[in-house]
Amino acid sequence: MAGWETVIGLECHVELSTRTKMFCGCRNEFGAPPNTNVCPVCLGQPGSLPVPNEEAIRRIVRIGLALDSEIAPHSLFHRKNYFYPDMPKNYQISQYDLPICVGGHLDVQLPSGEVKRVGITRVHMEEDTGKTSHVSASGRIHEAEHALVDYNRAGVPLVECVSEPDLRSPEEAAAYLRELRAILEALDVSDVRMEEGSLRCDANVSVRPAGSTELGTKVEIKNMNSIRSLERALVFERDRQIVALEAGQPLVQETRHWDEDSGSTKSMRSKEEAFDYRYFPEPDIPPIEPARAWVEELRASLPELPRARRERLGETLSAPELELEPAVIAGLLSSDRAETFIDVQRRSPEVGSRLIASFVLNEPEAAELSDVIVEILGFVHGERLSASKGKEVLEEVKGSGRSPVEIIDERDWWQVSDADALGAIADEVIAENPEVVEKFLAGKDAVIGFLVGQVVKKSGGSANPTLARQLLQERLSR
């Protein structure tokens, strides 16, 4: 695949987690029984009218501000006309040439550590559609006897965020989507759950000879349900296009459907079959004209965004006295781990930073469990509990909600620091491993680690390894 450059742009759809829908007072919730959150407006009953949800407008403006977009002083809703049974009006209220947020950019940290600035074309507001399920004995769509439509999702506020074609690899696309998701989480505007569809992503992908500045034939791929499937779909599609071009086969501009099971994309429709959406300004909704002062107020009240937080905390974590590896720092900076780390460290000043990092880094719920982590680290530091048992205790706390002390008591995991009891085990180990003892006595100091391990093992994992080593050394140097 050398000699080719991949060009990717993403269109992400974000369902806002507002209390009510975009244009009516129906509740906006995932998973309610079918057609229970519906009314004349979101069912498109004759004569009903849409009234924009102010909270949704507030949220999209905040998203735009977080992406450094310009907030348009005058923007319009448009109607996008096409027929589909899950769209109650057979048009979607969306935006066209005058979106609320224009331009902007997102700084993405690539796996290499490099930071890449990805252009944002626009961020606009629209409404979601209902959901169709085809009913057939065989489970195959084309054999379906009838279709059922659930309109609970119809009219849910949807933000579309379109990137420039600035991404150059599937990995970059995945990093972009992760960063966008982190921002949306920080803004607390959406559940951003890809598996529930509250964050969805379509990709435009093309390839061109390396060094070329012209764009190749663009293919849109849809139906990626996770960041992983986005990355897989892009890899597949990139390779498919390169193979075709290298074989001298021209590409067609088309929309392709990602199939998770087969791991491939399939053609849905070509450019010739593309819809003419007949956009025109939505006459039922006056222009959206946010007051400058209000926008500035929202700008001033934005929370600290992931990148700024990373920069701020990254400096703290990079302090040489912490002795943290770059990979550990990068791990801690994801989501809220860095803050948890700093919090735990402040509360456990005597504990080594690497030990703290090893607990926080591997625990997705570290923030919620910080009290427990502080308690367990206290035991480990006091040599009353081994680090590995400490992690098991943490797992058990999560599963059962019981206290660490209860669990350690019940499992009898307190480290044995009783020299008499451990001394007896040390004697046994020495008696059972004469060859190893010989090697040690011959000057191979390192083999003592094996003997320490045997003592810990015989004690059922509860032996304090430091004490065990000390006792073994005493005995062997006699």
């Binding site: 009218l49 057979n90 439509v149």
Partner: protein, 491 residues
């Protein structure tokens, strides 16, 4: 047949209800008797609701007996054009596709009247989805003009106009997108008021062309128009395009102030070719009367109004093509069975459910919005609309009210223009500009032509100048003192 309650004005009935001289039950019985007498010939209604009406009237009388104060609309029998949603009462839009449709909610205008004690007699016939100027485009047959049963009542709100003219109700609501209240009011010899766009909520008005649609009133006098408009006007949180109350909703208080010193502009383009002599003469005579009462009259030009018709027939069908997309058989209304997939089901349902004029306009609008044509058609029409708005702004810089005929002709015979869409479209040439500009306009009868058919004069004011328009219309009405009574009732 004199002095029947159903022939009285709402303000007059209100005064008698207030002092207990009559009861709401007597008023509704009078209207229902008139319906019984003439409806078979007029065919104004698609659905009658006599039981609901009687029940409501009885409740009101009980309520009244308790001494509670009465709203001006309480106990007054009314009709609603069948494009206004009524909860639990079928609402057809004059279309096969909604023949069985029963809305789950009330239109705001109706909810306001109902909440104040309005008594619904029924839902009136109209051109399918309000597209037409004769009510002949109804899927359920034409309405007959009470002035001459062989003639159309105008349209699209022909049923509401005819019902008011015939005394089947005291007043009625219609909708006016390009003249659909004013033109039938003129042709039936009643008062028709189209308010400023947004003054009356469109919630529950089943959309034809959303940027032009208004709810308007049919009454037999200007005072009633002021009363009825006051009851339905005002901001509605369910309609984002509805306006704040503006200068206030008391349209009755200023009615008697006369026209002395008011500045009237006679629209010079509205007296040319195509205007029947009988119409021209009656309107000219009305202008003379205004002048005689002290109104300052001169000529005014709306240079772009001539393009209004073309712009309207691009904008309205474009919006309609989108508004009517929802009638697909999926959620409500007609569904043609046995289609092989959902897209075929939708196509066949729409093919079977819509009439010829609706299909014509949906196709026209779909074409006008299509990629490559949008700028030349829809875009251009919007520019014309802007020019017409400026024409009005210029005219209202030194005029309070503009005068023109409402319709170039009086009522034409049923079938006469049915096969000639262009001739039909020209019926609205003088009413359309007010819709494009969103300004208020009223039509009142100003005489009869040689065939003894009513002629309407249209008074137009600037945005939210309803009080001014009503005041001028009231003065002219009083001065003309026409005692119009359709021959149907005189017999």
């Amino acid at each position: 047949m004199t002095a029947e309650l159903c022939d009285a004005g709402a303000w007059e009935l209100g005064a008698k209800l207030d002092i207990g001289e009559i009861t709401a039950a007597e008023v509704i019985e009078s209207c229902l008797a008139r319906v019984e007498e003439v409806e078979e010939r007029v065919r104004a209604f698609l659905t009658l609701t006599p039981e609901v009406a009687r029940e409501r009237a009885a409740e009101l009388d009980v309520h009244r007996a308790s001494g509670a104060p009465r709203s001006p609309v309480a106990g007054i029998p009314l009709a609603l054009k069948d494009v206004l949603a009524t909860k639990g009462i079928r609402t057809t839009c004059g279309s096969q596709i909604l023949e069985e449709y029963v809305p789950p909610y009330d239109a705001t205008a109706w909810a306001r009247l109902s909440g104040e004690g309005g008594v619904l007699v029924g839902k009136t016939n109209c051109d399918e989805f309000a597209m037409g100027s004769s009510t002949e485009n109804s899927a359920f047959g034409p309405v007959h003009n009470p002035w001459d049963l062989s003639r159309v009542p105008g349209g699209s709100s022909g049923g509401s106009a005819a019902a008011v003219a015939a005394g089947e109700v005291v007043w009625a609501l219609g909708t006016d997108t390009g003249g659909s209240v004013r033109q039938p009011a003129a042709l039936c010899g009643v008062v028709g008021m189209k308010p400023t766009y947004g003054l009356v909520s469109r919630y529950g008005l089943i959309a034809f062309a959303s940027s032009l649609d208004t709810v308007g009133t049919f009454t037999r006098g200007v005072r009633d128009a002021a009363l009825l408009l006051g009851a339905i006007a005002g901001k509605d949180p369910r309609d984002a395009t509805s306006l704040d109350d503006g200068p206030g909703r008391d349209y009755v208080g200023t009615l008697e102030k006369g026209v002395d010193g008011m500045r009237f502009g006679v629209v010079q383009e509205a007296f040319g070719e195509g205007v029947e002599p009988g119409v021209r003469d009656a309107v000219r005579a009305a202008v003379e009367r205004i002048s005689a009462m002290g109104g300052r009259v001169d000529e005014v030009s709306l240079p772009h109004a001539d393009y209004g018709l073309s712009a309207y027939y691009l904008i309205a069908p474009s919006e309609a093509s989108s508004n009517l997309a929802r009638y697909d058989g999926v959620r409500y209304g007609l569904r043609v069975p046995d289609a092989s997939d959902s897209i075929e089901m939708m196509a066949r349902t729409r093919g079977a459910g819509f009439g010829a004029e609706v299909k014509r306009r949906v196709m026209l609008g779909t074409y006008a919005l299509s990629a490559g044509y949008y700028e030349a058609y829809y875009g251009q029409a919007q520019k014309v609309r802007t020019l017409i708005i400026r024409d009005y702004e210029r005219a209202f810089a030194d005029h309070d009210v503009l005068i023109s005929p409402t319709s170039p002709t009086t009522a034409f015979t049923i079938g006469e223009r049915a096969d000639d869409p262009m001739a039909m479209y020209l019926s609205d040439v003088f009413t359309i500009p007010a819709n494009l500009a969103g300004v208020p306009a009223i039509t009142i009868p100003c005489g009869l032509d040689a065939n003894r058919l009513p002629v309407g004069v249209q008074l137009t004011g600037p945005v939210l100048a309803e009080a001014t328009v009503l005041r001028a219309a009231h003065a002219l009405e009083a001065d003309l003192a026409l005692a119009l009574r359709p021959p149907l009732l005189a017999a």
